[in-house]
Each structure stands twice: as structure tokens, then as C-alpha cells.
Amino acid sequence: MENYIVTVNILSALILSLSAVIVFVRLYRNRVQYKILFGVALLILLAGSIINIYQHTTVQENAEEFEQILSILFLPILIFAIYESIIGEQLRNRIKSEQKFKGIFDQTFSFVGLLDGEGRLLEANSTACEFIGYRKDEYKGLLFPETRWWKHSAEEREKLTVAIEKARLGKTVRFETTNIDKDGNIRYIDLSLKPIHDSHDNLIYLIGEGRDITEVKSTRLELEKHKKNLEDIVDKRTTELKTANAELQIINDALQEKNTIINEQNSKLISALNDLKETQAQLFQAEKMASLGVLTAGVAHEINNPLNYIIGAYEGLKLQGIHAGDEDVETLLNAIKTGADRVTGIVKSLNQFSRNTPSDNEECNIHEILNDSLVMLQSQLKNRIQVHKNYSNETFITFGNVGNIHQVFLNILSNAEQAIEGAGEIAIKTSKKDNHLIIAISDTGKGIEKDELTKITDPFYTTKDPGKGTGLGLSIAFGIIKDHGGSLEFESEVNKGTTVTVILPQKGIKHE
């Protein structure tokens, strides 16, 4: 038992010795009060331990009391050392932190000041003090607006007082102001005041922070000046441009007016060109018809001579009476006569068609002209189309150009014939009404659509298949009848037929 206690005490003494050595080594490197206390406490503890060993190895009455005294000393010293160690460390950390923040506070380029709730200046950083030339603590306790920074202007002091009042109400205030420096120069300052509250929301401090913005301000003023100059230049240029634009607008209007005139003239020219083309086509057709007339007249003349021989020979044979008693010879002679009459009729018709007299005051017997036209179309009509003539019994004569009137009826009859596919009929009815000759020619052909009826007298308009008509026939006929003081009317029904009515003034009433 005693041995165990002695052993434990020896081990304790060794550990305590080692601890004390460590503490004293550290104390040598860094002399701090609490480490001395530690060392003392450990030595006391060590001494107690040694006394304990001594007590348990020898019988010593005084040892117990001595140990008791050491024991009473030990713990208070140890506890005090611990207190010093912990609290001292915290204090040292706090001092370090304070030095760090003080350094930041002093070395920043901004002006920083700490104000109490009444607006008295408690602390100002080195930057602010050097700016105005304050010595340390010279400003302490002064109301902020009464410090030297503001002595140059009552107006700025008033602004600051108002700002402090606002900040005391809990608002962060920022405004631009001026301060005077130690050399008497006025500097522009961007100042802000921020309130700081404790955990119970009571105002404890106001922090004032200012930045010298004189350079920025002067640069800004310079920029504004340049901006104003630029705006003036832009305004001037804009005015010039507007003037130029107005002038251009006037020129443009004039050009547009001229353009309108040119367009109108262009339209007129196009119209004239179309008229010219139309006229050229009509001229071309007229020339063609004139050539055809000359050709026809030549052919008729050439046929007429041998025809005279045939008729003369026939008359001679008849006068000699060689057919008497011989029916066959008489039949042959009649055949010659019939053929010769027919050729005579054709020649006469050709002559009428090809008459090129410029006179427009010839007597035109419409019935004769109609018959001649039918003779000329006989080859197309025979065995296919029946012609029904319903001529008036009255004299049917008008004034005009026989050749042209012939051309009109030949054209109308030819159209009627071409409109009939296969077998059909053509009816010709002549009558008089109010001193006018009315000639109606109807066919049983395919008819014309209603919307096409108004266009059929237009030049180059045709309802015939391509290559079968020029589109000029009715246009020319219309022109001729108009020239004769008459008119043309059309009625048609699809698949039933067409009626063309020619109205001409009768003889004795000359057209103008």
C-alpha cells in the first residue's frame, strides 16, 4: 500500500518536474507574468509531492503540516495563473485587433471620423487631421460642424447640421460638400454619415466618411463643358442639316412634279404610239386590200376578153341556128350560155369589189351589192349553207363608195359563213325605216358570248381560231359604215346564231 503511494507520488513528482522545466524554458524565451506563476505553482506542487514521498518513507510529524501549508498555497496560485493566461491572451488579441483597425482607420485615403450621438467628434483619422492640420486630440469633443473643416462656409455648416440630424434619426445620409484644407484651398468632398446602433437599437455613434473628389469634380466640370460644346456643335450641324434637307425637299418636290409631267407625256406618247400602230395596221390592211383590188381588177379584165369571145361565139352559133332540131346541141349551147352568164356575174362582182374610185357619192344599189357578194362566196356556200333572201320591194339605194360597201357586206357574209360549222342557214332581210336602209344578216352559227360582243369591232380582236382571222375585218367595216353615216348593230346567242344589222341612210340623203 505504502509502496503504491510512494510510486504514484514519485511519478507525479517526475511529471511535475518535467512540466516545470517546460514552463521555465518558455519563460526564458518569453517573459510573461502568468508563466512565472505557473512555474511557482508547479514547484509548490512538486515540493508537496516530495514531502509526501518523504512522509510515506520516514516517520516525520512536521512533514504533514508542511504539506498542508503548501497545499493551501498551490491551488489559488494555479487558478490565478490560469486566469492570467486566458484573460491575458484575450486582452493581447484585443489589443492586436485594435492596433490593426486603428492602422486601417488612420491609413485609409478617405477621411473617417467617429461622432457621438450628439454630433460631437470623438475620433478622426490621420488623413482627415493632416488635411486640416489638427494635432492629436485637438478636435475632441467639438461639435462636428464647428470644427475647422467647415469654418469657410456657413451654408456648408448648415447642410452638415441638417445631415447629422437626419443620420441621428437612423438614416444614412450622403451628400456633396466642400471643406477647406490647411492651405486655405476649397476642396470638394463626397461625405456620408452612417448611424451605428447597439443591440437595443439605441444610437451610439455616427460614422462620417469623406472622399476628396476635387479632381473628379473638375474633370466632370471639364467634361460637362466639352459636352456643352459638343451639343452646340451638334445643334448647329442639325440646323444646317435641316436647312439642307428642306432645300432637298423642295428640289425633290420640283423633280416629282416634273416626273409627273414626264409620266403624263409618256402616257400620251404610249397612247400615240398605240394609235400609230393601229393606224399602221389599218394602213397595212388597206394597202393589202388595195393590192387585192388591183389584182382582182386585172384578173377580171383578163377573163372578160376571152369571155367576150365565148359569148360572141355562142351568139353566132345561135344565130346560125345549128341547134335547130338537135336537142343535144341546144342543151350544150344552153350550158355554154349558163356558164358564160355565171362567169360574167363573177367578173362583174370582181369589178365591183375592186373599184377604187375615190368618190363617195356613187349610187350604191344594196341588193346588187348583196347579190355580187353572194356570188363571190358561192364556192364556200354551195351544198352546205342555204341562203334565204327577203329583199324589200322598194328601191334600195344609198350614196357612197360602192367598193367599200361591197367590202362591208362581203366581210359580214364571210363571217356568217365561217361561223356555221357544217350545214346551216343565212337569212338576208332588207327594209326601210325613217329614211334609213336596214339590212339584217342572220346566221345559224355558233354565236358570240355577250361580253365579247362589245369588243368585236376593236382592231385585232377576233373570236376565230388562231391563223383564221386578223381581227381587222369588222373594225374596217365599222369604219366604212360610220364614214357613210350609218351604224352597225350586233345580236347574238351562243349556239343559236348571230344577226348583224347594217343601217345606212337612203338615196337623196347625203351623209356629211
Binding site: 497545499s71 491551488l75 487558478i79
Partner: protein
């Protein structure tokens, strides 16, 4: 007489220790530190010392010295780990 002084010693030490803990309580998490347990074991040792004086038991004496040894170990570790 000796017991009275031991009880006084223990009481004063305990009070000082508690006062220390109240002082540093808010700023440090002392329950995790070695010095705290070192001091606690010293106090346990003192309790045993007082009991030993009253009961005169050998077992308590052994416990007292064992606790004292443990306290020394904790204080040593605390110093080595630079807690103090």
C-alpha cells in the same frame, strides 16, 4: 485542527475555481481543456484528503494520491499542448 484547515483549503480553492470559471465562462470552451480536468482532479484529491482525515481509511488515501497523479498528467498535457 488539521481537518478544519483542509476543509478551508478545499472550500477556498473550490470558490476560486468557480469564480475563475464564471470569469472565463463566456469566452472559452473550458470543458474540453486539459487544465480544467487537471484542476478538477486536484480538487477531487483534496476531497479525498479531507475524507481521509475524517474516516482514516487507507483506500481513500490511495484514491487521493491516484487522483493527484491523474491531475499531474492532465496539467502536463495542458502545458505541452500550450493551452496555458
Amino acid at each position: 485542527m488539521q481537518n478544519v484547515s483542509e476543509i478551508l483549503d478545499f472550500s477556498i480553492s473550490t470558490l476560486l475555481f468557480l469564480y475563475l470559471l464564471t470569469l472565463i465562462g463566456k469566452s472559452t470552451n473550458y470543458q474540453r481543456s486539459y487544465w480544467f480536468w487537471g484542476v478538477v482532479f486536484v480538487l477531487f484529491s483534496k476531497v479525498n484528503s479531507v475524507l481521509e482525515g475524517l474516516i482514516f481509511s487507507t483506500e481513500i488515501n490511495i484514491v487521493e494520491h491516484t487522483f493527484f497523479f491523474i491531475a499531474c498528467v492532465f496539467l502536463f498535457i495542458s502545458i505541452v499542448k500550450r493551452e496555458l
